[in-house]
């Protein structure tokens, strides 16, 4: 959502817009590890700037996942921005002009025309970002180590820790489960959202 907002804001002709576009895209340069280390500074209970903010606290089972999620949101912001912006720039200018002639205000234009036009792009993003979520590993390992009390263990994290010969069978089952879940969730999303997606002709 934030990525979409950034792209909508940055898709206009202004002097210096390139600088803002580079800033918004910049988090694409940060890897999972870099983003996690950066967010240690922000949400870690001992050293974090927001370490005292209970809502994001990594030290409590009910909020730790939110803290981890925040780092993932930030890390994926750049990618989301780049893809949405590309989608927006593919929208022909005549459509903009036609909407203005029809007396559409900026907000109405955004929700009734622009967003529906880029809906295939948004669908792609939703599916891909959800898959990223299921595959989360690095941010969990660096930020929380799966804790506290295993509240932030993801499937990949569990799989990763089953490398001992005796655990590998269990790990393999989980891996297949991961594949199955990702596949089913992706297909469901495409099914449910496809009806609302406008592919044009």
């Amino acid at each position: 959502m934030l990525g979409v907002a950034l792209a909508v804001a940055a898709n206009r002709r202004l002097r210096g817009i390139k600088v803002f576009q580079t800033i918004f895209a910049s988090t694409v340069a940060s890897s999972v590890a870099v983003a996690s280390v950066i967010f240690l500074v922000l949400v870690n209970p001992q050293i974090g700037f927001f370490g005292d903010v209970r809502f994001l606290s990594l030290a409590h089972t009910d909020s730790a996942l939110r803290g981890v999620a925040l780092s993932a949101v930030w890390a994926n912001l750049g990618l989301t921005f780049i893809i949405v912006l590309a989608g927006l720039q593919a929208v022909p200018e005549e459509i903009d002009e036609a909407a203005a002639l029809d007396g559409y205000g900026p907000l109405r234009k955004l929700f009734r025309i622009t967003l529906p036009l880029i809906s295939p792009t948004l669908l792609f993003l939703v599916v891909v970002l959800v898959i990223f979520g299921f595959q989360a590993f690095g941010q969990i390992e660096i930020l929380t180590g799966g804790g506290p009390a295993r509240s932030t263990e993801t499937l990949v994290y569990k799989i990763f820790n089953r490398q001992q010969p005796l655990d590998q069978g269990e790990g393999a089952v989980m891996a297949l489960g991961l594949f199955g879940i990702t596949l089913v969730v992706s297909l469901l999303q495409i099914r449910l959202l496809e009806r609302r997606v406008h592919y044009g002709s």
């Binding site: 580079t22 340069a29 890897s31 590890a33 870099v34 280390v37 950066i38 893809i83």
Partner: protein
Amino acid sequence: MAADAPRSRWSQAGWYAVLTGLSVVVLFPIYMTLVRALSTPATYFQEGRPLHPVDVQWDVFSRAFSDGDLGTKALTSAVVTALIVGGQLATSIVAAYAFAFLEFPGRRLLFAAFMATLMLPIEVTLLANVQTMRDLGWLNSYQGLAAPFLATAFGTFLLRQGFLGIPRDLRDAATLDGFGHLAFLRRVALPVTRPVVAAFTVVSFLAAWNQYTWPRAVVTEGRWETIQIGLRSLSAATVDQGNIGLAAALLAALPVFALLIFLQRHLIRGLTAGAVKG
């Protein structure tokens, strides 16, 4: 129109304000990292975690190399990234060429099988692949770090699409000139699809340099750590030595950041391939 002008100037100023505000939100985590990397940890806490650096130590970046052994890790990452990017280019180009220009039995089926591997993330095959590496004795080695990524369906697909865009006339002309496959590939197909190849190279570099899960799995000795894995061990010593880990994180992101600034066009083209139609 004249009446419009002042209002649009105001709206322009408004947009600049919005964009600046958003930039602050996006950049804040990076800024705080810089603040903390430059501050002496103990003093910083005494001062109550301010928004500006305290007791600035500029040598923290060089200490990331001396104390954190960042140079070795960066070199490992560079070698592995070079192997992966080079390998992916080589395999993708010839595979894409075959799928685009050659007629051979089972081509469609083989291509479908290629594409199916796109759906299989490395996380699913992780345990099996790590076991293979262990059996080969490739844990803690360049080949172990790079081998699973030497071929890619994504690159093959991207380049195939590029090759298919080459006009028929051009191919016919090349055939008339007596170009063989290799000559056609080198002197026509690759030059014509240069933007696609460049976009793929940049994205491949980004992915290879930034990857975490696989190197974490096949590296068990500190001296084989890639830079990304190194960040974890550096940040593990967090509380009093944390500034070195943070400086290292900023340094690790630098090459990719340079990529973003200097090759933005290619990067964006590569990242958006497949996402946007038209």
